[in-house]
Symmetry: none
Subunit: 224 residues, 4 copies
Amino acid sequence: MAYKRSALMQERLADNRERIVRAARKLIGAGGLREASINAVAAQAGLSTGALYRYFPSKAELFVEVLNDAVRNEVAILDAIVDGEGSAAQRLRAAVRSFAERALEGPHLAYAFIAEPADAEVDAARILCRQQFGNVFKRVLREGIARGEFPAQALDVSAACIVGAYTEALVRPTATQTRRGAGDARLVAEIVEFCARAVGAPLDAGGSGKHHAKTQRTPKRKTA
Amino acid sequence: MAYKRSALMQERLADNRERIVRAARKLIGAGGLREASINAVAAQAGLSTGALYRYFPSKAELFVEVLNDAVRNEVAILDAIVDGEGSAAQRLRAAVRSFAERALEGPHLAYAFIAEPADAEVDAARILCRQQFGNVFKRVLREGIARGEFPAQALDVSAACIVGAYTEALVRPTATQTRRGAGDARLVAEIVEFCARAVGAPLDAGGSGKHHAKTQRTPKRKTA
Amino acid sequence: MAYKRSALMQERLADNRERIVRAARKLIGAGGLREASINAVAAQAGLSTGALYRYFPSKAELFVEVLNDAVRNEVAILDAIVDGEGSAAQRLRAAVRSFAERALEGPHLAYAFIAEPADAEVDAARILCRQQFGNVFKRVLREGIARGEFPAQALDVSAACIVGAYTEALVRPTATQTRRGAGDARLVAEIVEFCARAVGAPLDAGGSGKHHAKTQRTPKRKTA
Amino acid sequence: MAYKRSALMQERLADNRERIVRAARKLIGAGGLREASINAVAAQAGLSTGALYRYFPSKAELFVEVLNDAVRNEVAILDAIVDGEGSAAQRLRAAVRSFAERALEGPHLAYAFIAEPADAEVDAARILCRQQFGNVFKRVLREGIARGEFPAQALDVSAACIVGAYTEALVRPTATQTRRGAGDARLVAEIVEFCARAVGAPLDAGGSGKHHAKTQRTPKRKTA
DNA sequence: CATGAATGAGAATTCATTCAT
DNA sequence: TATGAATGAATTCTCATTCAT
């Protein structure tokens, strides 16, 4: 209290936490959880290993935060889409499209969080995160069924299948090739239609949710 | 020192290789990749660690073989179904059902091969294996589209989506609960229908491919 | 930059030093040396870690001071007893009793200073401190021998043995149980008699030094 | 089974365990528990750190073994003395003498095991060990009291005090000086008499248990 | 050829001490 | 001068791989 903590320092501190998370995200994105040792993360963040432990009590908790962070972001975007206007089918399509497009931008990260467990603790968090994704889809499915847009179906199974479907479709090419390109648009469109058909949505009359997609699509992550 | 390599010895060698793979599969099935250390695998196989390295140059290569083995097995079963009789839709349903049912029986093995951390080499193999699964579905999709049973769609995307869909739907509950039970039948049925709808298959008139499922379903793995 | 070093500041400095020592003592008493990290001590003292290093050049030196402090306190009490009135035997008994009683009240502190791991520097201080205790007993022994109350014996050996005897007798139960209780009075009495016999004191006729014990016993430490 | 394990190899294995224990004992003896890091012990034993874990599951368990080893040795010797012939007083004197003499030979080791805890697990073992020493003295005390040689007294307290007394008397000089010398005989004799008086033993008529001491005294540790 | 003991490079985590602000 | 964030060496333990026997 005697000495004022300079604004610069305050910033540095908040910064460091963010830097660590970002460093972890970057490393995980680049090489999977395997490459993200505490030492590597600290180095990438420009800190010592000890410093890292000032911000996170354990590697597992850091990873859980990275995961939750990424998911919170995604879920917020999906929520906005799903709670928006239009038919359930339109919103479902827009949600799938939106998620798929962003996943294509951060390939390895998506992969790591979907298919590359580490610790029991992190694993548990991952399960929860996927359920969060699932919940978004459950909402729009429930509504669509109530409105008569979709046939009756098990919400949880369909929701999980949707998450799995685009996950797999995106992860596979992603894992091999690194360059993003022309095929992406088609890929996304096909995934969207797959999911739409899967839930029994009527054929898309006029552009697969472009209306919503236009406003919501692909916000950049605040931090790279 | 000059051992004749008798037929018996040749057999012994082939035997050992098989024992190692089996041992690895058993350990992975029981406790995931984490439980399958080289020492544990060797012990389970009744061999020394050194001997194991006579058959496999590295842990990664052993795991790749275990993976390929399991997949070859699955793919053979799926092939038989897909190349069998009935409409494309029936065969697609039967294939999904068959795979899902078997995955539910050996949860940890499925989980390990889908979602557990491993080194890059094993990961790469994983991708290839999933492509193999995808290829099976591509065949039946192509046929169905040609026959006019399914609408036009990107084969590779749909195939990947199918693999991803049931993978996710199966892995998630598997990761949490260990006991198989009453819900399984419903789960499988829902996954099957999700996939059927997704590819635009006509509604199942009369029992979701029971015909084929009856003859093909759930062959036990030859070895435990 | 040019601060007058006011009397108030001087006091503040002395104060801080004392606060640090007290904080360390409290933490050690509560949880042993292991709980008394530099950060914890600083926090407990309401100072920054950096500030702590203004008063003590190292952890070891701080602990040595804590140790010396505690011992100085004890030795003062023992001195008063030993230099008091009554036969040498009475005073010896009273001293042993007094020490034992206080040790039972602050078990962890006693234990820490007797038996916890520390670096070489602290260890060395420990030895010196025990010698200080020993010196008190040497004085009363010397006097008792001169008066013919005790038989001839090696002063230093007997003194050390006394310190060791009650140390051991006290530390052992302390390490296992935490609650102080009914057995304590008996324990103390037995230790007193053991030491009395050991130095060849005549049988206690009438109450094992209660006279002195009454006036001297168990002054509270000034600070908690 | 196919390949016979050479006698030489067998020996090496048994040897290694012993070498590790010896290495730990040596390091502890030389510099206390502080100096006995896993790496240091392994190096001293001429092994890698990994090898050490083939023989001991943890550092704590290694230390407990070193401790138990040393104590088992001591207790066996004390048992033989205490269960030998002669008056209880003679045997008590002989036991104290025997222990004290051996402790003077391995100063730091004794110190480490008496006054230098490390781990909760090791600590617990130490308490038990001291109780084992105590038990030996309890036996001879009980017998002496029954025979009317010693006055009534609390066995456990007296036993603990004896252990503490010679411990302290031996440890202190030991911690400071390293050279053993002329004073040792006197030191031991004084400790013996202190303990004898302490339990109320009659004056030693003729040489402080030389009879027994002559036959039992100071067997060398089998391994250095 | 088989054995399995030994290797040794990491991995996560802790904490006394320092030093920019 | 006080602060407390940052340092980084040290610790215990793991396990894929090797190699003397």
